[in-house]
Amino acid sequence: MPGCKTAATHKTCTANLELSMKNILLHTALMTILFLVSQSFIFAQVVVSPQGPVTSIKEAVQMAGPGETIEVHSGIYYENDILIDKKLTLNGIGNPVINGNGQGFLLIIRADSVIVSGFSLQKTGRSYIRDYAAILIEKSAGFVIENNRIDDVFFGIYLAETDGGIIRNNDVRAYDTREASSGNGIHLWNVKNPKITGNSVMGMRDGIYLEFAENALISDNISSENNRYGLHYMFSNGGQYVKNTFLKNGAGVAVMYSDNVDMTNNLFEHNWGGSAYGLLLKDITNSRIEDNRFYRNTVAIYSEGSTNVDIRRNHIEQNGWAVNIKSNSSRNRFTENNFIENSFDVRTDSPRNNNFFDGNYWSAYEGYDLTRDGIGDVPYRPVSLFSMIIERQPESLILMRSMFIRLLDQAERILPVLTPKTLFDENPKMQRIQ
């Protein structure tokens, strides 16, 4: 088999070999040779250290052949726009620092299967025109970016037109407090099958931003104190995000214009403000929101124009509004959720209701259970008259929890006049759902 010397063609060779099933012995021999050849490539490495002989990462990248490893020892390297256009492994030993001096990108990756790990990346350029990032990955596949600390940058990790790849255990942070002049922590544009896991992002514009990302898996990340959204999901179908924590973000988490998104086991906490939401849904269809915990957000779940979303087994506690659902949302199902001591349970802007509430636990429910089946005998109406009053006269917010308001609410619940007549939970649970 000619042309099977490099590891890059290894795959195609193997495929070719498998096609010719006749000479098994020959195959084995060839495979062994190939294996040895690729091994020798992996072991080849270039060492960069401040003491020399190679003192610059750019230089090392030029010297190294495809498939080789560059080992960078601790020190500060003032370099930017380091272009990696072949398969390389960049290993930081002892947390070496690459400082861009406020100019350009730091690493630009334009080859498949590049591995970057153990670096400290600081000070990219800032611009209103170009999205300078600590690591830019373009048109590549199979890369691994892990255990890096990215600090004081414009954009953190920027993926464009990639396929696959793993972004793991990185720490991204910046300190700009203005929305317009800060960049995103992990930015994905037009990518397929990315895995973003175990990262921590802080103080960026959007913690994790996805646009046209297909089948993204976002798990175990912590996104906190970002100027806008902790996670911003746009036009990205079929992804899932699980076990993430979104804390104290300017506007919470936004999921927009996407289908088939799975949102499970996440934590949405302390997202406060006039337009802050634990989770904002806009034009979402056929998705799942399960086993999440919403704690002390101004609005836990805000929904505009979403259809056919399953909201199940979430724990929604001590938020201003548990659910704010606009009338253009339809066929969404709220089942088996715990609504605990939210100032308001559900808010809506129309007397009609196209959504479905059933079998939730509402701590504000005052009904009884004579049949002893754990389900209240009278339906619960989660939209209170007071929330309608506030809609019209926001100043009356100061009367919250007053006896007079409670009496009004009670009267309205018994005989609904102003609140949506069809919005109720037919089977409210008497006990919290575990």
Binding site: W272, G274, N297, S363, R392, P394, E395, M403, F404
Partner: protein, 263 residues
């Protein structure tokens, strides 16, 4: 000072003999324990407790204050024949009956909270609710004293007045505020509603409870005045300060009437 503590102690003894205060403690003990057993955990219980507190403590405090003035008329008049400073006597009587009432609420609610482990969990919120309950007890006992002294000979009028005042402050006042908000809805009203709420001690306590439990909803309101009031410590400080004023004015008024009164 010795005299003051002597009067207070005598009051305590007679209260304990009456067993009334013990019953009051038991009511809160059973109530809080039941709430904790059947109403789920921390914030839910504390909110229910604060609802009860906001509604009943003013009523009980005021009725108890006025009742005391009427019942111990002979005792007070007897003491007044002795060479005792009226100021000392007034403070002795006031503290002698308001502190056991306050203690009854605080201990009665505190014990179940402690043995259900809520104190460790939501200590700050619990302290706030209990503290506010104590404060409201003081305020409304002193209001009861004022009405008792004002209508010293006309008991029916005195009781009637107390009930009406309670009904007004606890329920009707907020209805009135809501009506005004709707009447003048076209004008900027934020400052107005804040000032108006400051004039009612029950509303003040309610706002403090709200600041503790509903801050996330309050932050959803975009008006600048509200945001400043609720968002920073302004609301907390102003409301607590106004509660103090509400304590000082009735006690001072009661003292004034007591000193000038020809018994």
């Amino acid at each position: 000072m010795k005299l003051l503590s002597h009067i207070i102690k005598t009051e305590w003894k007679s209260l304990l003999r009456g067993k009334w205060v013990i019953g009051y403690t038991l009511i809160f003990l059973i109530l809080t324990d039941t709430l904790l057993r059947f109403g789920g955990g921390g914030p839910e219980t504390l909110l229910s407790l604060s609802n009860v507190m906001l509604l009943f403590i003013p009523l009980v405090g005021m009725i108890y204050g006025i009742l005391y003035i009427y019942q111990s008329r002979e005792f007070v008049e007897l003491l007044l024949t002795q060479p005792i400073d009226r100021k000392v006597l007034y403070w002795g009587l006031f503290l002698g009956i308001s502190t056991p009432l306050m203690a009854a609420f605080i201990i009665g609610s505190l014990l179940p909270l402690a043995w259900h482990g809520i104190l460790a969990l939501d200590g700050g919120s619990a302290a706030l609710v209990l503290g506010l309950g104590g404060m409201l007890t003081l305020i409304f006992v002193s209001l009861g004293f004022v009405f008792g002294l004002m209508f010293y000979d006309d008991r029916i009028k005195g009781f009637g007045f107390t009930i009406v005042i309670w009904l007004f402050l606890a329920i009707l006042y907020d209805g009135l505020v809501l009506m005004l908000v709707f009447l003048f809805g076209d004008y900027p009203l934020e400052q107005f509603v804040i000032v108006v709420s400051m004039l009612n001690p029950i509303d003040l306590a309610r706002i403090l409870v709200m600041l503790e439990f509903d801050i996330s909803a309050l932050m959803g309101y975009t008006g600048a005045v509200f945001n400043r009031f609720f968002g920073q410590n302004t609301g907390l400080v102003t409301a607590s300060g106004m509660l103090m004023v509400w304590l000082v004015i009735p006690t001072w008024l009661g003292l004034r009437i007591f000193r000038k009164k020809d018994f």
